[in-house]
């Protein structure tokens, strides 16, 4: 018996050590949260000092409020990229252009007409309110050289390090496993040697007196057998039932989509209202997968994500800027948008999204009833979408789940004339002020199955 005991303690020791080692490796993994320095600001400041004509900081403010909707500094947008504009045109001309470009074009200025025609005859908004000094400031800002991707390299290096951490933990685990294996071998060897010693020195190893094996005793005890059988059957039934009940329930289903669309960036970081894109949820039974023209409302001017150095970047360790930019490029490809000419090519390829929420054909669900009438938050059924990098089915979407909510949720009747009379009558009938959806008949079969 003693021996058995010791053997157990050895096993326990081994288990504990494994657990301890694992928790260490977890710590190793958790260590590498790097805080990148806010480098752009300092770069800006440096550049401001170097640029002679104006105050780049003031210029940045003006640029962001007035120009940014159509212009980018280093990239063509609705209008041309502004970096290098002072070398393309002389300053006086620029003052006149900014203050009233249409007058310039009307006057037949060759340069002005050329630009006007190049950009699909889109007239630039005149800014007569800007003084020459303001324009100088803006120019100072836009003429700052494009920051070298040094910060980027650093960030990448940081990323590399952290991923290195991941690799090293694997190695540690491997080494640990090897050590454990070695220990086992050593123990076996030691045991063998001891036995040999015992044999050699004539020590009698105490023989265990043979008792009835426990399984035999068990088998002979009919009561125990029956109880165990009943228990096993019940347990089996429980698990089989549990297994069967989750067949066809796709909670957590998160398929790979043809375009990696991040709800985290759109609904989370940028706080875009759900119904901006899923507009039909307000009026229709379907929430509607947004058509690509909706994407292009913003993505016409957003062709890339802010890089990791920016304070409001969306880039994570897992998904780099290149990755996201590539996904935006996929959108352009699908919708047929040529970012270099800022125009549609007319060749579109509809995107075949993988549908995540699949209600069976016999269940009728209407988004507008829940969203517009009941005022249910999207998150209530779809979960914290604003945190989901990859969209997944949050709720089980089973009938029990629907019914439970209908039983618990009060109907939002305030301010809705439709409910006034019904509310009065029903609240009198049930003697309550608030009514649940179920009391309004929302658990009747025919309300969802027809």
């Amino acid at each position: 018996m003693e021996k058995v005991n010791t053997r157990h303690s050895i096993l326990r020791l081994l288990l504990i050590s494994i657990v301890v080692l694992f928790s260490f490796s977890q710590n190793l993994l958790a260590q590498d949260e790097a805080a990148p320095a806010d480098q752009e600001e300092s770069a800006d400041a440096k550049a401001a000092a170097s640029s002679a004509g104006g105050d780049a900081a003031k210029g940045k403010e003006l640029f962001n409020s007035l120009c940014a909707s159509c212009h980018k500094r280093y990239k063509r947008s609705t209008g041309p990229a502004l970096n290098g504009v002072t070398s393309r045109h002389d300053k006086d001309w620029l003052y006149r252009w900014v203050k009233n470009s249409q007058a310039l074009i009307a006057a037949g200025d060759a340069e002005a007409v050329a630009i006007y025609e190049e950009f699909n005859e889109t007239a630039m908004t005149p800014f007569p309110q800007l003084s020459n000094e303001d324009i100088d400031n803006i120019l100072a800002y836009v003429e700052q050289p494009k920051p070298e991707p040094t910060a980027n390299v650093q960030a990448n290096a940081g990323g590399g390090e952290s991923s290195g951490g991941g690799v090293s933990s694997d190695i540690i685990l491997g080494v640990l496993a090897f050590v454990l294996l070695l220990l086992v071998v050593v123990l076996v060897l030691v045991n063998k040697t001891l036995n040999r010693f015992a044999a050699a020195s004539g020590v009698q190893v105490q023989e265990k007196e043979s008792r009835k094996p426990i399984w035999k005793a068990f088998v002979e005890n009919q009561f125990l057998v029956i109880v165990t059988a009943v228990f096993l059957l019940l347990a089996g039934g429980y698990f089989v039932y549990g297994y069967l009940m989750q067949v066809g329930v796709d909670q957590g289903y998160a398929p790979v989509q043809p375009i990696h669309y991040s709800h985290r960036i759109h609904a989370g970081d940028n706080e875009i209202e759900c119904k901006y894109c899923h507009s039909s949820a307000r009026v229709s039974k379907t929430s509607g997968v947004p058509s690509l023209n909706v994407c292009m409302n913003c993505h016409k001017s957003i062709s890339e994500v802010a890089d990791a150095s920016s304070p409001n970047t969306s880039v994570t360790e897992e998904y780099s800027k290149e990755f996201y930019d590539g996904e935006i490029a996929k959108l352009y490809d699908a919708v047929g948008w040529d970012p270099s000419t800022q125009s549609y090519t007319g060749e579109s390829k509809p995107v075949k999204w993988v549908r995540i929420h699949n209600l069976p054909d016999f269940a009728y669900f209407n988004h507008s009833q829940h969203v517009s009438v009941a005022g249910v938050m999207c998150q209530e059924c779809h979960g914290p979408v604003e945190e989901m990098e990859i969209m997944r089915q949050y709720a089980p979407l089973t009938m029990g789940w629907c019914i439970n909510c209908h039983r618990k949720t009060n109907v939002k009747m305030e301010g809705n004339e439709y409910y006034e009379k019904i509310h009065d009558e029903l609240s009198k009938k049930y003697g309550v002020e608030t009514l649940t959806a179920a009391q309004m008949g929302a658990t009747e079969c025919g309300k969802c199955h027809y």
Partner: protein
């Protein structure tokens, strides 16, 4: 103690030495099992590499694979628009006003589209012209998704591009000599007329011939003689006090149809008054069934009757009718005279003389029922010109023939002459949606689009116009007739701009007209040159000619069925499965014949052991034309000596095999005359019908169709003519409506909505538009002829037809009471063959408040809703069919098979194109579940949701169902009885209101309004 008895199978066995016995003892089976038959022959079996082991392996593998595959849910893709059209919101229906005009049916309609697909037709309530959407119009949406449509133009049977066709046809038209003839259906389109004129100007020697498969020449010619315009008289029966019809089935397709709407208005008793309707006819028709007095007379006598009426009212020849008939005519004439300007006479005799007399009679009566200022223009066919064309073709005078919208090679009585003529035409062009009989014979086929893909303008009457706009892009590479014509005229404009231009000066707002679909105006296009000098009407010769019509033993009346019309939509399974309102036979046409004549010819109509109906065959002969193997159907009320046969069946080309049913009666349509003298001879064999109702009487029960006369209705108390059934309670008789009469506790129905449907049996003409509307709204499957024969039809809504077993329903009830029990069966279970009364009764799920079906469902798949509907959860149903057995109204339908995506039921649900018509809001049911009318809960839910979203109370009469919306007659009213302003409350409190089989205490939410007939002193 065990028995030692010896059992033997045959006497032979008693003989110990019999070799037979010994042999049988050795063999397990008496005859060798024909294993080769199901295993294939031995040689091939041995040479096969697949051993038994392999076979088992395959079985095992496939089972494992199948179960593995079942574990994983399918990946569903969803593809949004790249650029979403502004007006389309996925999941929300859009409605467009357009016009159906196929040369036979003309109607202003609203088209419901979902995600850009038209899925349902409704009638346009803004339309003033009385052309309601009938069953065929409602079904026309399915013809859009017809698999047999031409997908692109063809030359000599080979697919070509439009450029190629335009090039070749352009060249051919320029080079060919002789006449160039456009043979079209009635287009009734000002813009098309204008366009054809321009086309004629471009190519010299162009002639336009209009051909209606079902000719209205007689009426058109008569109207032209009398009033100078080639048009059809426009009747507004809602103004009528007394209607006398001589052979006019004016509730169906008589003179372009659409009269049932105004008729129904005059038939609802208001302030104790309703119109009186007297019908003389040969065939039993829907119109006759609705008449207060129906007189069965054969066609030749109908002419005499009309002549007599003319004689009595206008003066002239004396009546040569039998005293009995004369007496009736005299009475009818007295009624007409008394009604004065509210009287009207109509006739379906396809004889210009008869039509002329009708106009004269109405003129003499000063009838205001006919609107002379606004005649109908939806028939313009000219049979004389068509016959002249065939002559010209055979004479080789026609260089090019362009056939648009008609199928003369199928529908002409003299098809052979047409075909022979066509062979002599150098350039033959068919504008057709199908590769039908005519298109097949033509060199060029310009594939045309369906009206739901077209632009157009239609002149329904002189003042009423209706616009056609596309509701979907052409599904195939097709082009509408007018666009092709524009192209060939060398014009660059498209037809839409062309119409807009036509109307530019005549209507104030194009957009408004397009939105409404209908507008009033005067035509901006001067109609084509008038057809020669018009003969002045000579009534006395007309009268003489009419009175001296020859009589024959059998006189055939050719008619069109509500379901099939002229046969253009023969490939439409909804219409094929639509049961005829009177005979209740689907998937067929047949010769209707009176019982006496059938007995004389030894023809029979037996009901076979499985409950289905069979019929003998006959051969029909008119002149030299013979139509063989026409099944017969004995029709109660059919005049002796009169037989009837429906046109529009027996089409073979571009019709799916399953739908090539019936016989083509057009060869009998000699000289486009609907009345023909025919000889009938019995043929061998027996025909199998698919008839959905063989029970033809109510067997004396008075709580199915309640019926009374206007006189009793006006004078007696309600309890006399519409008593509420009483039940025994505590040895006292109490009304079944009392709460204590019921076994069950009442639900609380005071709060929220509570839906009721009222059906006015007076207004219902049995037209069946509701049946098709229900079909399309609720994805009701088509099951095919064989299944219908087994009474497995899936219609959620049926229109029952009952004949009286005696002369009247009242007499039938008396017979039941008076006759000894053993004699009642023969008497009251069989319809009176002479002249029974007829009643139509639409029956759908009655949505009982105390529903017998709900209590017997073992899985609670059917349950009661607070809003009055009886719900049916298909996903819960396990198919025990207890509910159907317990339903006293027999309105539940069981899915015996999977009717979608199943090769065995190769109708629209079995192909991608046909499935586009499905309503996405309603489940497509699977095999093994029960289904039934849901009172269109998807529509009421939508109405409520719309109100909730807008934060308003639902409007007074905002609720509707598919059937109530389809019923232009106003027979069906749907609404919320908890809304006191609603029309349905009025109906519920109406004295005529009763429930079907009320005595059994089911408390239905569907109610009926007692049928009142204005028989008076007839």
């Amino acid at each position: 103690m065990s028995s030692n008895k010896k059992y033997w199978k045959s006497v032979e066995e008693l003989n110990e030495n019999s070799p037979v016995v010994e042999k049988l003892r050795q063999n397990e089976f008496v005859e060798e099992i024909p294993t080769d038959k199901f295993l294939g022959d031995k040689d091939s079996l041995e040479s096969s590499a697949t051993s038994r082991r392999d076979f088992l392996k395959f079985v095992g593998f496939s089972t494992a694979a199948a179960s593995l595959a079942a574990c994983e849910g399918p990946v569903t893709k969803t593809i949004p628009y790249v650029v979403q059209p502004e007006r389309i919101v996925p999941g929300v229906a859009n409605y467009y006003a357009t016009t159906m005009a196929d040369g036979f049916d003309f109607a202003s309609v609203l088209v419901k589209t979902r995600e850009g697909r038209p899925i349902k037709i409704e009638s346009n309530k803004l339309a003033k012209a009385s052309l309601g959407a009938n069953a065929r119009v409602h079904a026309s949406v399915l013809s859009l998704y017809d698999n047999k449509r031409l997908k692109r133009p063809q030359i000599d049977g080979e697919d070509v591009s439009w450029e190629e066709l335009d090039r070749q046809v352009g060249g051919a038209l320029r080079s060919v000599g002789g006449q160039k003839v456009l043979l079209t259906s009635t287009m009734a389109s000002p813009s098309t007329s204008k366009l054809i004129n321009e086309f004629s100007a471009k190519y010299a020697n162009v002639k336009h011939v209009v051909y209606d498969a079902i000719s209205e020449d007689a009426a058109l010619d008569a109207y032209q003689m009398k009033y100078g315009t080639r048009a059809l008289a426009n009747y507004d029966f809602s103004k009528a006090g007394v209607i006398v019809s001589v052979g006019a089935d004016f509730l169906a397709d008589w003179q372009a149809g659409g009269n049932d709407v105004s008729y129904a208005k005059s038939r609802i008793p208001k302030n104790g008054k309703m119109s009186r309707h007297i019908q003389f006819e040969g065939n039993m028709t829907q119109t006759g069934a609705k008449a207060d007095k129906r007189v069965p007379v054969k066609p030749s006598q109908q002419k005499a009757v009309l002549a007599a009426i003319y004689g009595y009212i206008v003066g002239g020849a004396k009546s040569n009718l039998s005293p009995r008939l004369d007496d009736i005519v005299v009475k009818a004439v007295r009624q007409l005279r008394d009604a004065g300007s509210k009287a009207v006479v109509v006739s379906g005799i396809t004889d210009v003389n008869a039509q002329l007399l009708v106009l004269a009679i109405n003129d003499a009566l000063g009838s205001e029922v006919m609107d002379k200022s606004n005649p109908k223009l939806v028939r313009q066919g000219n049979a004389k010109q068509v016959q002249q064309l065939i002559k010209d073709m055979n004479a080789g005078n026609v260089g090019a023939l362009m056939v648009a919208g008609v199928n003369p090679a199928y529908s002409l009585p003299n098809v052979e002459a047409f075909k022979a003529g066509l062979r002599k035409v150098d350039v033959s062009i068919a504008f057709s949606m199908k590769k039908d009989e005519t298109a097949k014979l033509c060199k060029y086929i310009a594939a045309t689009s369906h009206y739901l893909e077209n632009w157009g303008d239609v002149q329904l009457t002189k003042k009423d116009f209706s616009l056609m706009q596309p509701t979907i892009r052409p599904l195939f590479d097709t082009r509408q007739f007018q666009d092709t014509l524009l192209k060939w005229s060398g014009s660059e404009t498209n037809y839409r701009d062309y119409i807009k231009q036509t109307w530019s000066g005549s209507i104030s707002s194009w957009n408004e007209a397009l939105h409404d679909g209908v507008f009033e105006a005067s035509s901006p296009v001067v109609s084509e040159e008038e057809l020669g000098a018009v003969a002045t009407p000579n009534y006395s010769t007309a009268l003489r000619d009419l009175a001296t019509s020859e009589e024959s033993e059998f006189e055939l009346t050719l008619y069109t069925k509500v379901g099939m019309g002229d046969g253009q939509q023969a490939n439409n399974p909804w219409l094929q499965e639509f049961p005829d309102p009177l005979t209740r036979v689907s998937w067929d046409n047949y010769l209707v014949i009176s019982k006496a004549d059938a007995d004389k010819l030894d023809l029979e109509n037996p009901t076979v052991s499985n409950g289905a109906l069979n019929g003998s065959y006959v051969n029909l002969k008119v002149g030299d034309n013979v139509v063989k193997n026409v099944p017969i159907l004995i029709q109660p009320g059919q005049a002796k000596g009169a037989v009837g046969l429906a046109l529009g069946y027996g089409k073979k080309e571009a019709v799916q095999k399953e739908m090539q049913v019936g016989v083509n009666a057009y060869p009998l349509y000699k000289d486009f005359n609907a009345f023909q003298n025919v000889t009938i001879e019995k043929a061998d064999g027996i025909h199998e019908f698919a008839c959905v109702q063989l029970q033809s009487t109510m067997a004396g029960r008075d709580d199915i169709v309640k019926e009374t006369t206007l006189e009793i209705f006006n004078t007696e108390d309600k309890h006399h003519w519409n008593p509420t059934p009483e039940v025994d309670y505590d040895h006292n008789e109490i009304s079944v409506r009392e709460e204590k009469a019921s076994l069950w506790n009442e639900f609380d129905r005071e709060i929220g909505h509570h839906f009721n449907l009222s059906i006015d049996l007076n207004a219902c003409t049995g037209c069946g538009a509701c049946v098709i509307a229900c079909h399309s709204e609720n994805n009701v499957p088509v099951v095919g002829k064989d299944e219908v024969r087994k009474f497995r039809d899936m219609h959620w809504l049926r229109v029952d037809r009952y004949y009286s077993s005696a002369d009247t329903f009242k007499q039938e009830q008396k017979d039941l009471e008076d006759l000894p029990a053993f004699e009642t069966y023969d008497k009251i279970e069989n319809a009176s063959y002479d002249n029974p009364e007829v009643a139509f009764q639409p029956v759908m799920c009655q949505h009982c408040n105390h529903a017998p079906c709900e209590t017997v469902c073992p899985v609670a798949a059917t349950s009661h809703g607070r809003q009055g509907q009886n719900h049916m959860a298909y996903n819960r149903c396990v198919g025990t069919r207890y509910c159907a057995n317990n339903c006293p109204y027999k309105v539940r339908r069981f899915n015996w098979f999977l009717y979608n995506e199943n090769e065995e039921f190769d109708y629209h649900m079995n192909n991608d194109l046909g499935r586009m018509v499905l309503n996405p809001d309603v489940t497509v049911r699977s095999r093994g579940v029960m289904e039934k009318c849901s009172m269109c809960i998807q529509i009421t839910q939508k109405t409520i949701l719309d109100a909730k979203r807008d934060g308003r109370v639902v409007g007074d009469d905002e609720f509707f169902t598919a059937c109530s919306r389809a019923c232009d007659q106003g027979a069906m009213t749907f609404g919320d009885i908890n809304n006191k302003n609603s029309e349905i409350v009025e109906k519920k409190n109406d004295e005529r209101m009763y429930h079907l089989l009320e005595s059994i205490g089911t408390k239905p939410n569907v109610m009926y309004q007692t049928l009142v007939k204005n028989t008076g002193d007839l």
